[in-house]
Symmetry: C2
Subunit: 448 residues, 2 copies
């Protein structure tokens, strides 16, 4: 069995802690059994899979913006399939299936389970996944979906109406799918026995590959990537689940939540204060997240969520935090904080002058043994002042040791790279007329 975790979302609903590079599934806020140790939603799901005894290889399908975050949080525990552009779940799952087949050499009868990377759920959910895998192995159906016992008539979810038929392996066949109905219709559906569609699918690899080949028929994985835009922009539910002739369902009853808003997320957090937060002890039902270097003082507030990050500051009545999406979209700037495969950076200052000349100042931390790519910029100078650790820098082919107290000026057009021996921290001042991440050309460099 192989598991594909879908990692998507642009993450404005948990602004300012989430941004395009750090969607909600990467926020390390959830409690673990160890005190003071927090984990992210994706880390929690991966841990729960293991604890349920599911040791299938994991493949995360995601966009380029999240590649570094997945690697930083899961390390060797998962392969990463990077979609060349965000389309929808059907293309993403096709690409991951081609990866399993062509890169990992899985046979077409391999059992595959696709699931979201961030449900907040419990052990029974993973037991249901095991039953789904067994069902496919037993050829109970071409596609087995998870039906989740609904707790209220939500208009946000899709519904699955089971039939009264059973397969030989005790898997119930389904009658039909209903996409996001009105609340009134949802009530009727629930009365008729419908369940929520949790977006978990089990099938044999060849079943989905055959459908995908209608759009992209490629000899190599690289060719699939190149032709990725030929897959239709459509969900897996519409393109596969609703059209499939033989669909079974496994039911799961238990805790299952999308911690996608501040209101739902904070309900699950035992810790009320994260980061440098001081209170007078009179606040009620207030969660405070402070990722800035500044102290945050909170006095006598009630029912608030307060979050501060390099992207911005939110102060919101908890129920009103559902309204954040539209406003946060307007506030969207370049990411001010990112977790990358080589370390992290935070933007500490940005100024733009009337004539468009700008200065962007960052503090960067490079992990020991990690290097950035050999690169050059057309429009900006970079001034690096090293403040901790040591490493090596290469400028236009010339290599030298650097460490605390050194300052290096890299002019536009100069080729440069940097490698950390120990944890390396430096302040970077970028200056120029176009300070965008895209102003970069990358070249190979052989450190050995």
């Amino acid at each position: 069995m192989n598991i594909i975790l879908l990692s998507g979302g642009s993450g404005t609903r948990l602004w300012p802690l989430s941004n395009d590079a750090r969607s909600k599934q990467f926020l390390k806020l959830l409690p673990t059994n160890e005190q003071d140790v927090k984990e992210s939603m994706i880390q929690r799901v991966v841990r729960q899979l293991k604890e349920a005894g599911i040791d299938a290889p994991l493949t995360v399908a995601t966009g380029a913006g999240q590649h570094d975050s997945v690697t930083a949080q899961l390390g060797e525990e998962a392969d990463v399939v990077v979609e060349p552009m965000r389309r929808d779940t059907f293309p993403a799952i096709c690409l991951a299936c081609e990866y399993l087949s062509k890169v990992k050499g899985c046979p077409d009868d391999e059992v595959v389970v696709v699931m979201p990377c961030d449900p907040f759920t419990e052990d029974g959910y993973f037991k249901a996944i095991k039953r789904m895998g067994t069902g496919v192995t037993d050829n109970a159906a071409d596609l087995i979906v998870m039906g989740i016992t609904p707790t209220y008539p939500s208009a946000k979810y899709g519904y699955i109406l089971p039939s009264h038929d059973m397969t030989t392996g005790g898997i119930v066949r389904i009658e039909r799918f209903v996409e996001k109905p009105s609340v009134a219709d949802a009530e009727k559906l629930i009365d008729a026995g419908a369940l929520w569609n949790g977006g978990v699918f089990a099938f044999r690899l060849g079943f989905v590959r055959e459908i995908g080949r209608k759009y992209v028929d490629a000899a190599t994985y690289e060719e699939t990537v190149r032709k990725f835009d030929q897959y239709p922009k459509i969900s897996f539910d519409y393109e596969v689940a609703e059209k499939a002739k033989s669909v079974g369902m496994v039911r799961f009853t238990g805790t299952w939540k999308d911690l996608g808003t501040w209101n739902t997320l904070t309900d699950e957090l035992e810790t009320k204060e994260y980061g440098n937060v001081v209170t007078d002890g009179t606040s009620e039902n207030t969660h405070v997240f402070n990722e800035l270097g500044l102290p945050l003082l909170c006095l006598g507030t009630k029912d608030l969520v307060i979050a501060a990050s390099p992207d911005g500051i939110l102060v919101s009545e908890k129920r009103k935090s559902e309204n954040i999406k539209q406003l946060a979209e307007k506030l969207k700037r370049r990411p001010m904080y990112e977790e990358r495969r080589w370390g992290t950076y935070v933007v500490i200052d940005f100024v733009e002058f009337d004539d468009g000349f700008s200065a962007l100042t960052k503090r960067l931390t490079l992990n020991p043994g990690c290097a950035i790519s050999y690169q050059r910029h057309t429009h900006r100078d970079e001034i690096w002042t090293f403040i901790d650790g040591d490493g090596e820098i290469v400028i236009d082919g010339e290599r030298q040791a650097i460490g605390r107290g050194d300052t290096v000026v890299i002019k536009k057009g100069q080729m440069h790279t940097l490698r950390a021996n120990s944890l390396l921290t430096f302040i970077e001042v970028q200056t120029g007329h176009q300070l965008v991440e895209e102003d970069i050309e990358r070249f190979p460099y052989d450190w050995e």
Copy 2:
């Protein structure tokens, strides 16, 4: 007539907008007649003095930490007397009186009015000041104080109990002063006709100088400054007002407030959002002040004051904001933002490593024609990257032009100064083991 404005206060009650260098009287938040133009409390008082037709020379008595703020906000409109250390109002007023006598050459029969620099008050207050000055000129009493008609039995103010005697000039004599009574006693005092003591005093220069000479008898102003610590640490009320034999009072009835807490200050502010603030329009009675470069999003809050500055972030229920003082004292760090005589700086980042080595990053703006002192540091390097404007730099005697895109490294021990031709903005990275403002030696430099 001469006016002495007392400018004190360490400013933690309006944290994080106020700090040791920027006390509440310097916050430019108050509405003016011009739209979008705001003024500070001290600017408002100086404007009101002028509008009331009081054109007496102004002298501000303050501590070294506020010298640059006073100069930046009042410019040529006031002289500044800098107390070598903060003691109390009696020493501060003695020093200012010696300054008027020895530096400005005022005769001992000069009429002087001492007043706080930041009452939030109205025209009648300044009319009362004029009557106090006239009273002293007419020799109605040695000391004339302002009595303010109380609006409630406050335990925070001193009280003045007038007698039934009148001087020839129609100034009422006073019976006694009562320092901060209990609320119950305040009620009784008010019933007996007592008024609030507004801390406004009028007298002839020689009257106070004679009392001061009991402690410090100096030939020059410089000698007075040197012997400043020989003045007792006592208030002017205790040392002068309560002991004076001939004291008169002028009554003022009208608006008179200390906008010293967020709750009282925000009551007077028409504008509810300052800086980069976005709201969904559903907040009630919420004031938001954002001095950071980040956007601040506020959704559905009620009765809050929210303030963000480089010193920290406050989110407080308005009435609870009275409790800020103690907590803000704990949060006190080096000032993260300062208005100086040469321009402004903001600290954008600070990191300290386990071994005590630190990096402090600032963005500085130097006003055209202004220069910093010729200086050197023993414990820190400074790396300057110029991002806008142009000027001249001197390092170890060597002078050169600098401007946008230039980076200069100043090693510990190197003498350096900088002058702006146009508005000059630069990023400074300080690195070293002791990053304190006190690590500085200043030398003369002749730019001509």
